[in-house]
């Protein structure tokens, strides 16, 4: 199945973003595989998608740059048409206890995780509103709601995404555009190495970490036609950790 318009997944060269890109491609969306530095990874993801019969294009761009939203969305629109699905997944960590988080580490995390998502959403909403259809999914984190000492900057950015999600959802709902978030718990990716997995695992009722595919399945649902009346919500995917 092929569709008019395209899907953009930021930070999709590996981990959860790569799994989301593959899942949306399987739904028939031509997918922009955005990356900042891992060009090889993004090319690999795009190749896998094409081998599976889908369409994909690696799209470079650091979402923390003020001009990136225009260049990323512009590049994808030229190749595949209006961006009707946006998944703000790109995220970075710079952990430390609050007294020791410097301005640079604070700003870098907020710029990428929160401001980058806002700017891309603002840019992509134009086409979605005109099309009277759109799906925005923000990849938040349970750390936005449940404290994890050492991640004040990350937690603030993810809680910010949840607030952004609800407000934008209310603004554009009457245009057929939905805006939701997913809040993964402990998921096995390169990024979560060294977050203190063991400490968390004991607290997870499912007694295991989640997989990127389990998060991608939730995004796939939120993007689907069937989810057309689901907006402004945050879907927690954490094996019961915050239950």
């Amino acid at each position: 199945m092929s569709r008019e318009g395209s899907a953009l997944v930021t930070g999709a060269s590996r981990g959860i973003g790569a799994a989301i890109a593959r899942a949306l491609a399987a739904e028939g969306w031509p997918v922009g595989v955005n990356y900042r530095s891992d060009q090889d990874g993004a090319k690999r993801v795009a190749r896998e998608i094409e081998r599976a019969g889908g369409s994909a294009e690696p799209v470079p761009g650091d979402v923390s740059d003020a001009g990136a939203a225009d260049s990323i969305v512009g590049a994808l629109e030229e190749r595949f048409g209006t961006v009707l699905v946006l998944v703000n997944n790109a995220g970075v960590r710079a952990d430390g206890l609050s007294p020791q988080i410097g301005d640079e580490d604070w700003e870098r995390v907020l710029d990428t995780n929160l401001s980058g998502a806002f700017r891309l959403t603002r840019r992509a909403l134009r086409g979605m509103m005109r099309a009277r259809f759109g799906r925005v999914v923000n990849v938040a984190s349970i750390v936005g709601q449940r404290a994890n000492p050492g991640q004040a900057n990350y937690a603030a950015s993810k809680a910010g995404l949840v607030g952004l999600t609800g407000t934008v959802a209310a603004e554009v709902a009457r245009r057929g555009v939905t805006v939701n978030a997913v809040a993964p718990g402990l998921v096995e990716t390169e990024m979560t190495n060294g977050v203190g997995q063991e400490r968390f695992l004991d607290a997870v009722p499912a007694r295991r970490a989640g997989t990127p595919e389990e998060v991608a399945a939730c995004v796939r649902f939120l993007v689907s036609e069937e989810a057309s009346y689901v907006t402004g919500t945050t879907l927690t995917v954490d094996g019961g950790l915050t239950a």
């Binding site: 134009r126 509103m129 005109r130 603004e171 554009v172 009457r174 245009r175």
Partner: protein, 82 residues
């Protein structure tokens, strides 16, 4: 390239952008208020986007809030473009 801005051109652009959002063309006069036309703030955002693309004129949120009539919008765009 932004088009040359004349009052006529701005009027045409705004009227056709508004017409796509619901109201009949003959209802869209200079004196018609957005409330009468059932044009809400989100609709005005869409009109502002068309104006920006067409004329390179950016209309800020607080400016849009003060607009009551179609004529107000036309005058604002013409003033900002000159």
């Amino acid at each position: 390239m932004p088009a040359t801005v004349t009052t006529d051109k701005v009027e045409q652009t705004i009227v056709s952008a508004l017409a796509e959002l619901g109201p009949e063309r003959d209802e869209i006069t200079r004196d018609a208020t957005f409330e009468q036309l059932d044009i809400d703030s989100l609709d005005l955002v869409e009109v502002a986007q068309v104006i920006e693309e067409e004329f390179g004129v950016e209309i800020k949120g607080e400016e849009a809030e003060k607009l009551n009539t179609v004529g107000d919008a036309i005058d604002l765009v013409v003033a900002k473009a000159s």
